[in-house]
Symmetry: C2
Subunit: 275 residues, 2 copies
């Protein structure tokens, strides 16, 4: 069983119900002290105002979601995305977030080349090392599920995240975020988490529903699906990670339609019984 | 460009439109000489009647889909599934199909253990070696997309298929079916196809649509998605596979709603331009 003090609420879990102040109020009412902020919501409220509000409420951040999409084959688009990535790093620093989650970007449909998309994402990361180091923000490379490889992320496995970290050779700047939803099926997951070791800088939980109906927005509450979450938690702990455990549930047909205090109550219960 | 003589139509591509005789008529009208049969359709028409019809029409089979689901933790269910697998092998032999496609089965939701499900699938395969050898039917281990790991197949990567073949140590009985839809995202795909070498005994094509809306039934026609199919075709050819190329498109919102001769015409065109 995971210690409830490690519970961090990812803002996306209450994406449809709450503005930024409402989200922080829900956390306060339900005694949740850690959060990961969603970038759209943060910018909507204003980055500086959000930073002040977070400090005022005594919330510690476990992450900021997200920057990236560095796979475009078009030079103008690519430059725009790199600029945006640097802005996201600056925002994370301003908010006091220890890390910025990195989402690689999908396959450029104009060229249909996964290897080229991967090469460009890696080159893009190499290009932001000094900026991230200067800002004191860790870039959390997050392997995402292969089912969103086309549109969202060509970083499809933890092995590839480790390979990229090896190539970047800057473990002070790059870490790896392990999201159980993205990696639970991977035959090599335990070996690759062990290989990651101290690179693991974030751990995200939710569950895979047997009757999943959407490729992005149908995640389940911990305990409602088929993922052996405690096994993966123990794996990251054995690798040396004992930090926040973020609950990140995209759920357009269920949890996004419920009262935010109800959702947070269930999250607390399930954190104790299924994480 | 792939030689049109290698075109094999998987019956599932016309699943909703045709009975078995209608399917074989469509192939004849459109000069397609190879096919892979779907088991439900075959049993609906009768295995012996289908075998006679296939011979009569001069159709050569490239495969029979499918047998498996050997992951249940329940001994009674497991026995029932092993018996069914042996029947599927016998049916494939009766039909004159060189191989039976193997679908491993998903995670048993009662225990939530992917490693245990994989162990049982592998044990199940070990238990049918002599039966398959006696029937002269190759078992084509088909890695399926990780997004159907929970419900359909814990055999999620080509690396794992190779590992299983190593463990089974019976390359006269087991081969590997490469379906571009299931493996295109895999960072190790080219290395694992090279490692498979002569194990590759089937090659299936379709395409991944950028706006995929369903986890199983929304495959695209070759050329309509983001998969670099020729790259994967060259990889299996370099591994030594020069056999039939099966078109296998599950498409409840598009191709299953169209006239079967129209679909087959488009398949022939795209086989020339996008495979």
């Amino acid at each position: 069983m995971a210690d409830i003090d490690r519970l961090s609420m990812n803002q996306v879990t209450l994406l449809e119900q709450c503005t930024m102040p409402q989200f922080l109020d829900v956390l306060a009412r339900n005694d949740v002290r850690l959060a990961s902020l969603w970038r759209d919501k943060t910018r909507e409220h204003g980055v500086e105002r959000t930073a002040a509000l977070v400090r005022e409420r005594g919330i510690a951040l476990s992450g900021y979601c997200w920057g990236g999409l560095l796979t475009s084959a078009d030079p103008h688009e690519a430059r725009t995305r790199r600029d945006d990535m640097r802005r996201a790093i600056d925002e994370a620093a301003m908010l006091g977030s220890p890390c910025l989650v990195f989402v690689a970007g999908g396959v450029d449909a104009r060229e249909k080349s996964v290897p080229d998309a991967r090469r460009r994402a890696l080159e893009g990361l190499a290009g932001i090392v000094s900026h991230a180091r200067g800002a004191g923000v860790k870039i959390a490379l997050e392997p995402l599920h292969p089912m969103i490889c086309a549109t969202r992320s060509v970083l499809s496995t933890t092995k590839l995240a480790n390979d990229w970290c090896d190539a970047l050779d800057a473990d002070d700047v790059f870490g790896i975020a392990i999201d159980v939803y993205a990696v639970w099926w991977d035959p090599d997951i335990e070996a690759e988490i062990a290989r990651a070791g101290k690179r693991v800088c974030a751990f995200h939980v939710s569950d895979w529903l047997a009757d999943t109906q959407d490729l992005r927005l149908d995640r389940g509450m911990m305990g409602d699906g088929v993922i052996d979450i405690p096994r993966l938690r123990r794996a990251v702990e054995e690798a040396g990670y004992t930090g926040p455990i973020e609950v990140e549930i995209f759920s357009s047909r269920n949890w996004w339609r419920r009262d935010p205090d109800e959702v947070t109550g269930v999250v607390r219960e399930r954190f104790a019984s299924a994480v």
